[in-house]
Symmetry: C2
Subunit: 130 residues, 2 copies
């Protein structure tokens, strides 16, 4: 029961979502062309994943003749937000700064990352009102 879009998107499903976020609506065949080669999947696999995503209500279908056109129902931003938050909550007690500090310590931040981040901080600080 509970037909809400509460289900999580799995790793493999996520690859399909990326294709649809990049371009949509797409037919199953088009999605397959976009993602199957890179992952070494067969068409059947892609079709299964699309079905599951439809069941999870994260993508929608509109009939076009005998086939369907698939379109994302959740915005990529929302998905990224959910996943990021989940990680931050789970591993860093909800503190984004905690995650950041970790990335910093792990030397996972390049000089350009630092530049971008610093610029972003300033931007957020300044142009707050809105």
């Amino acid at each position: 029961m509970a037909e809400e879009p509460g289900d999580r998107i799995s790793e493999a499903e996520h690859a399909v979502m990326e294709a649809l976020w990049a371009r949509h609506p797409l037919t199953a065949g088009e999605v397959a062309d976009a993602v199957a080669p890179a992952r070494g999947w067969g068409l059947a696999t892609v079709k299964t994943l699309l079905s599951r995503l439809v069941a999870k209500q994260v993508i929608g279908t509109q009939p076009q003749g005998k086939r369907f056109l698939y379109t994302p129902l959740v915005a990529r931003q929302d998905y990224l937000g959910g996943e990021s938050r989940r990680l931050v909550d789970r591993l860093f007690g909800g503190s984004a700064a905690g995650l950041f500090a970790h990335l910093a310590e792990a030397e996972a931040l390049s000089a350009s990352d630092l530049d971008e981040i610093e610029a972003l901080v300033k931007q957020i600080r300044g142009g707050e009102g809105q």
Copy 2:
């Protein structure tokens, strides 16, 4: 290639790891006391999770009389690093700044987060020397 701890740690298993990272070595009973109540688990569940973690070689055991003392074999820092990197790679094409930008846009950053982050950036930039 040796038998590295290549297996992923699942959500439930992670809860057990947190208990061991917080304090170790611990017996199964002690781990259960630490995590079972909060998650509504029975002792049996905790014992299963410990077994799986041992199989995955992320925790080790040392016999103490008839029972075992469990100790983490992977550092929490390493785990956090791996998971963070995985997320950044998967969702933000490997760009930590991308993740940061997202958190920023999603207003998921508090003022204190910003303070901490800015301070960190400066620290990394300037006082790098060790």
